[in-house]
Amino acid sequence: MFRLEARTSTPAWFNLALPLIAIVVALVLCSGLIAVAGAGVIDAYGVMLSASLGDSYAITETLVRAAPMIFTGLAVAIAFRAKFWNIGAEGQLLAGAVASCAVGTIPMPGYLAMLLMALVGAAAGALVALVPATLRVKFKVDDVVSSLLLNSVIYYALMALIEGPWKDTFSGYPISPPIEDSANFPVLLEGTRLHIGVVVALIAAPLCWFLIARTTLGFRIRVTGENPEAARYGGISVQRVLLSTALLSGALAGLAGVGEVGGVHFQVMSDISPGYGYSGIVVAMLARLNPLGVVPAAIFLAAVMTGAEAMSRATGVPAFLSDVIQGTALLAMLVALLFTAYRIRRVGASA
């Protein structure tokens, strides 16, 4: 018989190696699907690797894709720290995209437009996140379910906009009007799509780490998540912490949408997010809810997503493999996390 036994301490190397182990396990498990699809496993992963990180252009493409997942990953990581189960980053991202696009279409100086887009987009995301938080605080509504249901509501609202008032009368396509050229985020490297929003995302991660690890609000968030009773006893208003966490989390998810509008698509369409909100959950868990870990985790998932498309073209393995890898990585990581708190001990063999 084997038994799980509580660990008294966790070796330091173990904490760092954990996400890597989870990723390797996910890749190994998913290689079965590549084989089923009739392609060489080494070839397929080789194509994925070279298409996502093989040259400087590939790297910029991966970074561009990582940016929204850094934001949604931070949004989820901070929310989960307070045990505010925000599964609504997808809807908050869409709200941020729509709001920033609306601002971006107004002619004004570029720097002002970008600043306003970020502010309004973040505010829109925050506002959406406030709904499940308020419902939980005031009506005890389960935040998981309400934030999930809100995703659908926001999505249909977006569709109503781009098939209604925003519909392109000229082409008839359901897409929003483009933002002003002056509001397009500056590109950092000519010939690539590496825009300024990627840098903002990379800066946001250490800022969020500072917030969580070194500020009073961060302390309150952590205590509320770990032990709400103790938080209450210590004079922390759990309700207020939950609401502030929601605002912060939603704003970060909203910024993911701002970056996609200002730096990548310059308008809003129905598939502006291929599920970045849900990927944020995977990112946050791989990062073990540490904002600094969000960056490498997001880059890994972005590389898988970018690489999967190239792999699909080269080998015919459906690109949906990247979704399976994401799900498997999340589950593998959860199991791996178990071993930080427990170890497997053989029992009953000698007794």
Partner: protein, 314 residues
């Protein structure tokens, strides 16, 4: 107003409500069994999708609809077992594992579907289930053709409600399920295996979610499309809360939701003013959120819900 009543009591409208409610009833009762045993299954959306895909594939390649249903149920049960493995055996976070199961199974569903059917401009379809009129009962005016001239799976759903209530409240196993969901320690002391019972309940729940998926691709749409489940799983989770973890109330909640959904479809079709159709699509979700706000305050969830059970840790 009277025109609206006439609309509502039309045969077609009643039949539509029943058809919309059927997959929701299966999914809601499935989720209810799982939660009654103390396990929230957020994998429901993905489990329904993977089952819908697997059932459709089996039916279209194997040529038999009932084979498709069987495969969908087995796949649902299997995914339920996976969720139970993570949450019951290993005691991991039910929230995050559920999302993981959903991400994994929807990714797998899309991956395998694309692998088997390739990329086609028009999704392949199958000859789905045909309505089977029940003699005599189907002759009852209005109610007969709406309720008793339906797919066999609809009758199965109608039967599932009293059956679920009987199993939950009147059988020893149902008692065990309720015990491990309310007070696993006491259940353990009474000699009920918490782990085994929870596994069984989550697997049964998964099988019912599989039936829900099967209904979507083999009776309602007769094809697998990427939006075929489109939030029905999440709605089912809300309906469990709304139905206060009771089979009858949960089924009632599914009917109520189906009524709102059928109403929005009717309003869409009648081209009510210049309201965009998305506003109607949103309606059931907004309705569910508001309904939850009203219900959640007094809702009493199984007290061990979300709490892992480890025998050694007392």
């Amino acid at each position: 107003m009277s025109a609206m009543f006439e609309q509502i009591f039309q045969v077609g409208f009643l039949a539509a409500i029943i058809r919309i409610a059927t997959p929701l009833a299966f999914a809601t009762i499935g989720e209810m069994f799982s939660e009654r045993a103390g396990v929230l299954n957020l994998g429901i959306e993905g489990i329904m999708l993977l089952s819908a895909m697997a059932g459709f594939t089996a039916a279209s390649l194997g040529g038999s609809l009932w084979l498709g249903v069987l495969v969908a149920v087995l796949v649902g049960a299997l995914m339920g077992a996976l969720h139970a493995l993570f949450t019951v055996a290993l005691g991991l976070s039910q929230h995050v594992c559920g999302i993981g199961v959903t991400l994994f199974s929807s990714g797998l569903a899309y991956f395998l579907y694309r692998l088997i059917f390739g990329q086609q401009s028009v999704p392949p379809s199958i000859e789905g289930f045909k309505p089977v009129p029940i003699p005599l009962l189907s002759d009852i005016p209005v109610l007969g053709p709406a309720v008793f001239n339906q797919f066999t799976l609809v009758y199965l759903a109608i039967l599932a409600i009293p059956l679920a209530a009987f199993v939950l409240y009147r059988t020893p196993w149902g008692l065990s399920v309720r015990m491990v969901g309310e007070n696993p320690r006491a259940a353990d002391s009474a000699g009920v295996s918490v782990i085994t019972t929870r596994f069984q309940a989550v697997i049964l729940g998964g099988a019912l979610m599989g039936l829900a998926g099967a209904f979507l691709t083999m009776a309602q749409f007769n094809a697998f499309t990427f939006g075929v489940v489109s939030g029905r799983g999440w709605v089912a989770i809300a309906l469990v809360v709304f139905g206060r973890w009771d089979p009858w109330r949960s089924a009632g909640a599914a009917l109520l939701f189906a009524f709102v959904d059928a109403l929005q479809l009717r309003m869409q079709a009648s081209g009510l003013g210049h309201v965009p159709y998305e506003a109607f699509l949103m309606l059931p979700f907004i309705f569910t959120i508001i309904a939850m706000a009203f219900m959640s305050r007094n809702a009493v969830a199984p007290s061990a819900l979300l709490k892992p059970f480890r025998r050694e840790e007392r």
